[in-house]
């Protein structure tokens, strides 16, 4: 288990009601399960359309259970982009 900071952006931040929260999780999949348990409403719906950065790097299409989190790391939750 690693202590990580989860940072919510835009619609995810609005749904979470906070910009960031601490979590204990070994993988991205574990962190997302913990987030859904803590925020079972709107944020859980928004998460289905989000992409993620771990320590600033895009996770892309990697399976979330294979993305290991480091102690003191960050997970960023990015809703769909809608520029222009």
């Amino acid at each position: 288990m690693a202590k990580v900071t989860v940072r919510f952006w835009a619609a995810a931040k609005a749904a979470a009601g906070v910009a960031e929260e601490p979590y204990d999780a070994a993988t991205l999949a574990d962190a997302l399960t913990a987030i859904r348990e803590r925020h079972p409403g709107e944020l859980t719906r928004v998460l289905m359309r989000c992409s993620y950065l771990v320590d600033g790097d895009p996770v892309g299409t990697r399976p979330h259970e294979t993305v290991r989190l480091a102690e003191g790391g960050t997970v960023e939750v990015l809703p769909p982009f809608a520029g222009g």
Partner: protein
């Protein structure tokens, strides 16, 4: 692209065709972007300007705000580099607004200059399409009926 013998062959090597990129919370100027892509060897400039519409999905838009992730400028550069790799671009510029906008305000300006117009149109189209998909910018709309929406998120 045909280069004449007097066509300053070193020009492309010395000048980065990416002339201006930005994510800004101040009003955008079409003229600034057009001046940035001025190039004596370019015959055609295609530009795209995105403005805030008064309607979306049949509802009246009252106000709109854009926010961005700190990596947005870096991602915008990545998109611009892809366009420059795909087309014979002489000069390219793209700026996106953040913060609160009103109906009619300019949200984004993209511009590409090439020797020929077909290339300029295609490159500008790729630039604005990929900007919308790849650059972490978010749009929040408020409607006159009191509802609001994070575009694309729900």
């Amino acid at each position: 692209m045909a280069h004449g013998t007097h066509d300053h062959p070193g020009e492309r090597a010395h000048h980065d065709p990416i002339r201006l990129l930005g994510i800004r919370d101040t009003p955008l100027s079409l003229d600034e972007v057009f001046r940035a892509v001025g190039d004596r060897a370019a015959g055609g400039t295609a530009l795209f300007v995105g403005t805030v519409r008064n309607h979306d999905m049949g509802a009246d838009v009252d106000a709109l705000s854009y926010s961005s992730h700190p990596s947005a400028e870096m991602e915008l550069r990545r998109v611009a580099e892809k366009v420059v790799a795909n087309y014979p671009v002489r000069a390219l510029a793209a700026v996106h607004r953040t913060g609160d906008l009103a109906v009619g305000d300019v949200a984004v300006v993209a511009a590409v200059s090439c020797a020929h117009r077909g290339e300029a149109f295609a490159a500008c189209r790729q630039l604005i399409d990929e900007l919308k998909h790849e650059v972490p910018i978010w749009k929040h709309q408020s409607f006159s009926n009191g509802t609001e929406e994070w575009v694309g998120a729900c």
